[in-house]
C-alpha cells in the first residue's frame, strides 16, 4: 500500500512508519497538518492516515479542504477522541474510517487494507469466492450446489466478509460494520457468531473458507496476498 501518515506525535509516527516499512508498504510521514495537506494534494496515495488534533491545521479541517478539492482518497482518522459525536464529526468531514488511540497495529493495518481495496467491490450485488456465491438482491447464498440458509445477521456478516475477501477483518470492524456498535468487547461474542457461520459454510466441504488469524481477526478466503508480520 502507498500510505501517507499525517501525525504530529513523532515517536508514535516513527514506530508506525518502521512497522509499515517492515511489512513492505510505501509510507510517507508529514509532521503537521499543513505539510500533510500539501503532500495529500499531490495525490497518488492509496489511503491517508490523519491524526485529528494537530498544530497548524487540524485533521478535520485538512480532510474538509481535501474533499473540496474533489480528492476521494480514502481517509482513516487516528485520534484520542473517542466519543460517538467525535466519530460522527470525523465521518461527516469526509473521513472513511475512525480508529481511536490506542490501537493495535494489526487493527490499523486491517482497516487500511479494507479502505485501500474498498473501491473495487462496493457496488457489486453478486459476491463470489471460489465456489461460494452470495446474491445481495435475492438474498441467496450457495456453495457449490448447496443452498445455504442464513439468518439475517449471518447474511450481513457473510456479505461484509465477502466484500473484504482475502483480507483480515478484525472483531472491532465486524462489530462496527455488521452490528453498528462503535466499541470493543471483552468477550468472545464475535468468535461465536463466526464459528456458527463457519459451521454453515464449511461443514461439508474440504477446503475451509472462513479462517481465524490468531490475535488479529478473520479471513474469508486465502488471506492477504502479502502476508504481514502476524503473530
Amino acid at each position: 500500500m502507498k500510505l501517507l501518515l499525517i501525525e504530529d506525535d513523532i515517536d508514535a509516527a516513527e514506530l508506525l512508519v518502521s512497522r509499515f516499512r517492515a511489512d513492505g508498504d510505501d509510507i510517507t510521514h508529514a509532521e503537521d497538518g499543513a505539510a500533510g495537506l500539501q503532500l495529500a494534494r499531490q495525490g497518488g496515495f492509496d489511503v491517508l492516515i490523519v491524526d485529528r488534533m494537530m498544530p497548524k491545521l487540524d485533521g478535520l479541517e485538512l480532510v474538509r479542504q481535501l474533499r473540496q478539492d474533489d480528492s476521494d482518497t480514502p481517509v482513516l482518522f487516528l485520534t484520542a477522541l473517542g466519543s460517538v459525536s467525535d466519530r460522527v464529526g470525523g465521518l461527516q468531514a469526509g473521513g472513511d474510517d475512525y480508529l481511536v488511540k490506542p490501537f493495535a497495529y494489526a487493527e490499523l493495518r486491517a482497516r487500511l487494507e479494507a479502505l485501500a481495496r474498498r473501491n473495487a467491490s462496493n457496488a457489486d450485488t453478486q459476491l463470489t469466492l471460489e465456489d461460494l456465491t452470495l446474491d445481495v438482491v435475492s438474498r441467496r447464498v450457495r456453495r457449490g450446489d448447496v443452498e445455504i440458509d442464513l439468518k439475517a445477521r449471518e447474511f450481513l456478516l457473510l456479505e461484509y466478509l465477502l466484500r473484504h475477501k482475502n483480507q483480515i477483518v478484525t472483531r472491532a470492524m465486524l462489530l462496527e460494520n455488521v452490528w453498528q456498535y462503535g466499541f470493543d468487547t471483552q468477550t468472545n461474542v464475535i468468535d461465536v457468531h463466526i464459528s456458527r457461520l463457519r459451521a454453515k459454510l464449511d461443514k461439508d466441504f474440504e477446503t475451509p473458507l472462513l479462517n481465524t488469524v490468531r490475535g488479529e481477526g478473520f479471513v474469508l478466503g486465502t488471506g492477504p496476498e502479502k502476508s504481514g508480520a502476524s503473530a
Binding site: 506525535d9 490506542p102 445477521r153 462503535g182 466499541f183 468487547t185 468477550t187 468472545n188 503473530a231
Partner: protein, 450 residues
C-alpha cells in the same frame, strides 16, 4: 385553579384580601351602628318634644285639651304614634287603637320600648301625666329601617365588588409572576439538559425578578466557562495521557510481532490494555457524571435496541451452556425512550457481560425482559448465578468495587458504575436486587417517551 393557589403572589393577594375584608367589615359595622344610633336619637328628640307639647296641652286644657291635641297631631304627623287612654286603659284618642300586648313589646334602654306591629316597628314610651290618663307616645321606625336596609345593602354590595376585584387582581398578578417564573424555568430547561450556553432573557424588566435573572445568568456564564475549561482539561488529559500509552503499546506490539519475543511482552501488552481500558472507562464515567457528555438524545426504540444486543450475545450465552429467555412486548406499539442509543446499548452490554462473567452456575439461565410499567420502561437482565450478598448490593455499583470472588476474573470494577452513570445520564436509575432462588437481577429504569 389549583396551580393558581400554588403561586405565592396569589396567596399573598388572598391573605391581604381576607385581612382587608375583616377590617372593612369591622369599620362598616361600627359606622352602621353609629348611624343607626344617631337616627334613633334624632327620632327620640322628636318624641320628647312631642311629649313636652302634650304635657303643656294637658296642663292648659286638661284631658279634653290633651285629647284634642292628640287628635290634631295624629293627623298632621303621620310618623308619630299616639294612644291616649284612661287609668283603666280604655281608648280615648290616638292613631293606635289598643295597648300592645307584652308579647309585642320589647324593652329598650332608658324607658323606651319597641313595639312590633303588623304595620311595622314603633319606638315609644309611656307618659303618665297623672293618675287619670296614660299617653303612649312614639314614632314609626319603618322609614329608619328602610334607610338602614339600604345602607346595609350598599355596604355588602361594595364588599362583594371588592372581593371580585381583589380576586381578579390577584389572579392577574399571579399570572404575571407565573409567566415570569415559567420563562425562567423554560430558559433553565435546556441548561439542565446540558446546553450551558442558554441564558434567561429578562426582557428589559427592572424588578427583583430581573435581579434574580441576571444573577442566574452570571452564574450560568461562570458554569459554562468552568465546563469549557474542564472539557479542555479532559480532552487534553485524554490526548496527553493516551499518547505515551499508545506509543508504549505500539512498541510492545511491535516487539510481540517478533516470534522470539518472550512471554513477558505479551503479558505487558495485556496489562497496558487493561490500564487503557480503566482509563477510558474513568474518562467516560467522569464525562457522564459531570454532565460533560453531549446530550445527543433522540427517540430510541427500546425493544429494537435490546433485540440487537440480545441477538449479538445470545450465541455466546448459548455456547457457554446458558438457557436464554427473552421477553419483550410485541403488540405493535413501540416502547420509546428519549436517549443516546449507543450509550444505552453499552449499558445493556455491560450487564450481559457481567452476567456471562459472574452469573454462571450449573444450570445457568439468563432472563432478559423489556416491560412498560406505567410511565417507565424497565429493562431487566437477570442471571441464576451465586448472586450478590444483600450487604454488598449497595456497593457493587460504586467505582472499582469488586467482590472478592471476582477479583481473579478479568474486569476493572467499573462496568456497573458505568451502567449506573448511563442510567442517571438519562434521568433513570439502575436497580439491583437478588433473584429467587439465586442470582442477580439488574433493572434499568427509564422514563417512557410521551
Amino acid at each position: 385553579m389549583t396551580r393558581l393557589f400554588k403561586v405565592s403572589s396569589f396567596r399573598a393577594v388572598l391573605l391581604y384580601l381576607a385581612l382587608f375584608l375583616a377590617s372593612a367589615g369591622l369599620a362598616g359595622s361600627f359606622l352602621y351602628n353609629q348611624i343607626d344610633a344617631s337616627i334613633t336619637a334624632t327620632g327620640d328628640n322628636l318624641v320628647w318634644r312631642d311629649a313636652a307639647m302634650m304635657s303643656q296641652s294637658y296642663q292648659r286644657g286638661g284631658v279634653a285639651g290633651l285629647r284634642q291635641a292628640v287628635q290634631q297631631q295624629s293627623q298632621v304627623n303621620p310618623d308619630a304614634v299616639y294612644l291616649l287612654a284612661d287609668s283603666l286603659g280604655q281608648y280615648l284618642a290616638g292613631n293606635l287603637s289598643a295597648f300592645p300586648t307584652p308579647a309585642q313589646t320589647s324593652v329598650a334602654a332608658e324607658g323606651w320600648q319597641v313595639i312590633e306591629q303588623s304595620a311595622g316597628k314603633v319606638r315609644a314610651r309611656l307618659l303618665r301625666l297623672d293618675d287619670d290618663v296614660i299617653l303612649l307616645i312614639g314614632r314609626d321606625l319603618t322609614a329608619q329601617q328602610a334607610a338602614m336596609g339600604q345602607i346595609r345593602q350598599a355596604f355588602f354590595g361594595a364588599l362583594a365588588l371588592l372581593v371580585v376585584l381583589g380576586l381578579l387582581g390577584g389572579a392577574v398578578m399571579a399570572r404575571q409572576s407565573l409567566a415570569r417564573v415559567e420563562k425562567i424555568n423554560r430558559s433553565l430547561r435546556p441548561i439542565m439538559a446540558g446546553d450551558f450556553s442558554a441564558r434567561i432573557d429578562s426582557g428589559g424588566a427592572q424588578d427583583e425578578l430581573a435581579d434574580l435573572e441576571s444573577q442566574i445568568n452570571a452564574m450560568l456564564s461562570r458554569i459554562e466557562k468552568l465546563m469549557a475549561e474542564m472539557r479542555e482539561v479532559t480532552d487534553n488529559l485524554a490526548h496527553d495521557l493516551r499518547s505515551p500509552l499508545t506509543r508504549l503499546r505500539g512498541r510492545l506490539d511491535a516487539m510481540r510481532a517478533d516470534t522470539t519475543a518472550p512471554q513477558a511482552v505479551a503479558d505487558s501488552l495485556a496489562d497496558i490494555d487493561q490500564l487503557l481500558g480503566v482509563f477510558s472507562s474513568i474518562l467516560a464515567l467522569s464525562k457522564l457524571d459531570s454532565g460533560l457528555a453531549e446530550q445527543t438524545h433522540q427517540p430510541v426504540d427500546v425493544v429494537a435496541l435490546v433485540d440487537d444486543v440480545v441477538e449479538l450475545y445470545e450465541a455466546a450465552f448459548d455456547e457457554a451452556g446458558w438457557q436464554v429467555d427473552y421477553q419483550a412486548p410485541r403488540n405493535g406499539v413501540p416502547v420509546m425512550v428519549e436517549g443516546d442509543a449507543p450509550l444505552l446499548a453499552q449499558a445493556m452490554i455491560n450487564l450481559l457481560e457481567n452476567a456471562l462473567a459472574y452469573g454462571a452456575s450449573d444450570k445457568a439461565a439468563l432472563r432478559v425482559s423489556v416491560a412498560a410499567q406505567g410511565a417507565d420502561v424497565a429493562i431487566s437482565v437477570a442471571d441464576s448465578g451465586a448472586g450478590v450478598p444483600e450487604a454488598e448490593l449497595a456497593h457493587i455499583r460504586q467505582r472499582f468495587v469488586r467482590l472478592d470472588d471476582a477479583r481473579s476474573a478479568p474486569g476493572n470494577g467499573l462496568g456497573l458504575s458505568l451502567v449506573d452513570a448511563i442510567c442517571r445520564h438519562h434521568g433513570g436509575r439502575l436497580e439491583l436486587s437478588p433473584r429467587q432462588p439465586s442470582g442477580l437481577q439488574a433493572d434499568i429504569i427509564l422514563a417512557q417517551r410521551k
